[in-house]
Structure formats: structure tokens, C-alpha cells
Amino acid sequence: MSRFNQFLSGLLLATAATLAQAEVSLLNVSYDVARDVYKDYNPLFQKFWKAKTGEEVTLKQSHGGSTKQVRAVADGLEADVVTMNQANDVEFLAEKGLVAKDWNRKFPNNASPYTSAMVFIVRKGNPKSIRDWGDLAKDGVQVILPHPKNTGNGRNSYLSAWAWALKQPGGSDQGAQAFVGRLLKNAPLFAAGGRDATTTFMQRRIGDVLLTFECEAELIAREFGKGEFEVVYPSLTLQTEFPVALVDKVVDKKGTRKLAQAYLDYLWSPEGQENAARNYLRPRSAELLKKYAAQFPAVKTFTVDDVFGGPAKAFATHFKDGGSFDQIYVSK
């Protein structure tokens, strides 16, 4: 019954004008697999903030598909900060005037406090001896990945394969497109999302190789056991960024700018960086990278800015309707 009362009061509260809140609170709108990172990070920041200012701060989390989340922010979800896994999603908010145009220079490292890399997960013993992107386009290899056009995870794999093909001797955009086309022909399905791809590969035992984030490998081990698969690092892969930004419009309205800025700044503090490393995300701090070297083997990476001229351009060229992905499938 108290739940119902709570609900009723929530209904009233929400319908009535939102009163100025007595306690300071911050809403962090984030992508869908970030819960562990921020679940651990938030208490660290609360302690830090309390020590610094004596203020208690309530931190609220919202998680969902990255693009869905920024659309909600653009439509009025009052996020003080966004912590995403796709730069073009923050770009979208910048276009809408909610986030500064130069958001990626407001914080160090392209405003991405930690990174990850796209890797291969293969079956125990690597029976199809898959070592590099080229092996994925061979006959008889089945590749499992999330939808390359509709999911961030899938897009990252797509761009990684493209960049690898481009960097091969004699590589060209045309050749890269043909290569990616052959690779995608080896995909028996496009999974609904990263988690669905994992279930398909691990539980339903479909496919020879799964394309995913390095940090997911650890989650997979937790769920399915470490001995069940191997991680393969290709010769070149995408360094995926996790951009963060202040939502100017909201923090100015709510008067939370200082707090929100501190919340994001703290991600680069030693504690914040170590928290990322503990959650299998590559910290920016060189020192910590060394400390966690066993967990993060050296791998040659590129960024979307290096090869594709920025996230917005990469998105427009490859994933908009009529882009390179559509050209692979539609004849005209």
C-alpha cells in the first residue's frame, strides 16, 4: 500500500509545479551498460563532494540506449550531465543547443574519461584460427555482431573493419566497402543489441566469432565462465570513446553548474580513473594503464577522428539512409 501511496504522491508531485528541491540532486543520463561504472563512481564522488563542501548530494541515474537517451534529453528529460558511448549522440545535443558546440574541448582527452577497444571473442581453442579482420570475411566463418546500422556497438565493429581494410596495402574506400560487404555476408543475423549478440553467441552457440567491446569480455566471463571463450585482439581496431558533457541549458536553469562540472571533472581524478579500470575500461592515466597492464594488453588503435574525419561525418557517410551500409544491401 505504501508503494501505491508513493506512486500517488509521485503523480501529484509530477503534475503539480516542480518545487525547488531542498536537497541538491544531479541527474546523470547515461548509456545502457554503464550502470556498474557509475554505481561505483557515485559514492566516490558523494564522499569527495561532502569532504570538499559539506553538501550532501543525491545522484540519480538514467540508463538506456545511447541515442534514445539523448533524444529524451532533447525532448525535455532534465539531465544535468550526459555520459554516453557515442560522440555523435553528444553532437546531436550540441546541434540542438543543449550542449556547448565545443563540448569535446571542455574536458581533457576529447571529453572521454576512459576508452575501450573493439575485440573478437572466439570459441575455446580458436578452432577457426581467427586472428584478424581478414579472417572474418573468409568462407565458412560465421560472424555475430549487433545491428551495424542501428546500434552503437555494431557501428563500431563496422568502422573497425572498414578502417582495417583501408589501411591494407592498396586499400581504398571502394575496396573497404567490398570487404565489409563480404564480412557482413558472413553474419547469419544482426542481433538486437550488444547483450543479445552475446547471448546468441555464448548461450545459443551460433557463430564462430563475436564482435564486441573489450570491457564486455569481462561481463561475459562473469556470466558464462572464463574458460568458455578466448579474446583475440586484431592488428588494428577502433578506440571507442565514452564522451561526457554538461547540459548547459539544464544546469543553468537548475543552478547546478558547479556541481555538475565537479562531477564530470572528478572522472579524471585518480579515484575516478581507477574506478574505470576496475570496471575494465581503459583509463586515460598512463600510470594506471601500466598498473592494470595484464587487463589491458597493448593494441594498435585508431580513433574515428583519425580515419573518418569525426563522428558526425562517419555517421553520415556510413549509417544514414543511403549510406555505405545501405549500399551493401540495396541494389540501386
Binding site: 508503494r3 501505491f4 508513493q6 506512486f7 500517488l8 509521485g10 503523480l11 509530477a14 503534475t15 503539480a16 509545479a17 516542480t18 541527474l27 543520463v29 545502457d32 551498460v33 550502470r35 556498474d36 540519480k60 541515474q61 538514467s62 540508463h63 538506456g64 534514445k68 537517451q69 529524451a72 532533447a74 525532448d75 525535455g76 528529460l77 532534465e78 543489441g193 550488444g194 547483450r195 552475446t198 561481463l219 561475459i220 562473469r222 556470466e223
Partner: protein, 288 residues
């Protein structure tokens, strides 16, 4: 409710139809339900209970039930009113009206969420006004109730219309011509007749309201512990590789669906009691 029948199918027909029906239900409903519980209990009973005892899970259960309870009465009222008008009267454009009632089913849940964003989002039709008055509709509970209303809109009406149509209006007309008032006729004649259909409609609408993901997901904002319903909670847990938690939460929804059993049994029991009382007072002849 067991009625004696002079006319029955031959035994082999009865048996084979029952077998076909049961095999179909087993394959399409029984196995998925079993699979949900197998996943939910994969790490044992204590992990299952722990997953449900999590404060966020409990908040999600409360919110889901609250939204369903808020959406139901309005849709029941609408369903009875619409079915009464459609089934008992002839007027122009009736098929059009019925089709419009069906339409929310054909709208993809995501689109159903989207239309409320188009209306109440900051850039929506009423966005500027709502922002000026600091009223929150979407990304708050009211928007989620609205989306649920839309999704469950047709159930009660659609359940009642074919039933009331097949019953015709003779009984009601008789009641009126015997001098009953409109409300008397409704409570004494119509409602007892449509009780089953109404119950099914309510149960279906309730199940759907609890289980709805797509539309609610678009308007919820996904704020943990505040605007996360149980299905949204399930998605987040699944994406976080918390399979046991996700399926445990899903199993709660499945169990809520089994409440049908309880509701139906209670109604049946009360009806039998009423019948017994009626039979004691009146001569046993029941006229159709």
C-alpha cells in the same frame, strides 16, 4: 458453471481437440514460461529472492502496479460506454468507430510513445506551454500513464462488443418495458450478462499494462528508482549481464498474469453463491 449438455461432440473428437489445444498451448506458452523460470532460478532460490529484494526492483514493481491501477478505471468506463453504444444501437459510421478503437493495437508501441513526445515534449505541440508552467508530463509518471492508457485502450471495449452483439438487446428492452430505469437495467440486466467479457477485458488490459515496454520506455526517462517500470528494469538488468535478475523480474510479471486464476475463481465463487441464493428464493425455472 458446469452445464449438462445433451449435445456433445463424440468422445474421440473431444479428446483430439483437447490434445491439439494442449499441445499448442504447451509449445507456445508452457515452454516459454518454463524457460523464464529456469533462467530465473539458474543460480538457485536465494539469488532469485535477492534479485527481487533489491530496492530498485521493488520500486519498479510498485510503479508498474500503480500505473496499471491508474489506467484501468478510465479504460473500463470507456469500454462499457463504447460497447453499449456500438452493440445496442445502429448508427452511421459504426464500423469506422470500431476501427478507430482498434487502431491503438496496430500502432507500434515505440510510435505510441513517440506521439506523446510530439504532443508534450519541449518541442511538441503543448511543449512551450508546459515548460512555461513547469508541468512535467513526459519523463514523469503522467506520461507513462498516458502511454499505458493508449496501449490498453481497446481491450475492454473490444472484449465487450462481440459479446453484447451476440446477446442482442431483447433482455434490456424487456426490462425497460417492465418499467426499469436505465441504471436499474444496466446493473440488473446488462452487467450480469457481460460480467465474463468485462472480466476478460480487465484482465487482458491489466496484463498488458503491466507488461508494456516499448511505449512506456520512450516516455519514461529511465530514472532508476523513479520512473523505471518492471519491464524497463528487466531490460536494464539483461543488458548489464544480470540474467538472473532480469528473468526473476520477468517471472514476477508472469506470476501477475496468473492472477487471472485468482480473479476468475473469486468471481465464479461469488456467482455460484448468488445463484444459490436466487434459486432458494425463486422457482427453479430459468428463462432465457
Amino acid at each position: 458453471m458446469s452445464r449438462r449438455r445433451a449435445a456433445q461432440e463424440p468422445r474421440w473428437v473431444r479428446w483430439s481437440l483437447t490434445a491439439i489445444g494442449l499441445v499448442f498451448l504447451f509449445a507456445f506458452l508452457g515452454l516459454p514460461l518454463a524457460a523464464v523460470f529456469v533462467e530465473a532460478l539458474a543460480q538457485g532460490w536465494s539469488a532469485y529472492v535477492a534479485a527481487l529484494a533489491e530496492p530498485e526492483a521493488r520500486a519498479a514493481v510498485g510503479l508498474s502496479i500503480g500505473i496499471a491501477l491508474a489506467a484501468l478505471p478510465l479504460n473500463i468506463l470507456f469500454g462499457v460506454a463504447a460497447a453499449w453504444a456500438v452493440a445496442k444501437f445502429d448508427f452511421r459510421g459504426k464500423s469506422l468507430l470500431v476501427t478507430l478503437i482498434d487502431l491503438p493495437f496496430a500502432v507500434s508501441p515505440v510510435v505510441a510513445g513517440l506521439i506523446f513526445i510530439l504532443l508534450f515534449g519541449v518541442n511538441g505541440v503543448f511543449g512551450a506551454w508546459l515548460t512555461a508552467h513547469e508541468i512535467k508530463v513526459i519523463f514523469a509518471v503522467p506520461g507513462m500513464v498516458l502511454a499505458t492508457l493508449f496501449i490498453t485502450f481497446p481491450f475492454v471495449a473490444r472484449e465487450l462488443i462481440p459479446l453484447m452483439q451476440s446477446q442482442g438487446k431483447d433482455e434490456e428492452e424487456a426490462a425497460i418495458s417492465l418499467g426499469a430505469s436505465g441504471w436499474q437495467m444496466f446493473w440488473r440486466v446488462t452487467l450480469p450478462n457481460i460480467k465474463w467479457g468485462l472480466l476478460y477485458g480487465v484482465i487482458l488490459a491489466n496484463a498488458r499494462a503491466l507488461g508494456e515496454f516499448g511505449a512506456v520506455s520512450v516516455v519514461s526517462g529511465h530514472i532508476r528508482g523513479e520512473t523505471n517500470t518492471l519491464p524497463l528494469h528487466v531490460e536494464i538488468l539483461y543488458n548489464e549481464y544480470n540474467q538472473v535478475g532480469a528473468f526473476a523480474a520477468a517471472s514476477v510479471l508472469a506470476l501477475l498474469a496468473l492472477l487471472t486464476l485468482v480473479a476468475k475463481t473469486v468471481v465464479e465463487w461469488r456467482m455460484q453463491k448468488e445463484m444459490a441464493m436466487l434459486n432458494a428464493e425463486l422457482p427453479p425455472e430459468k428463462t432465457a
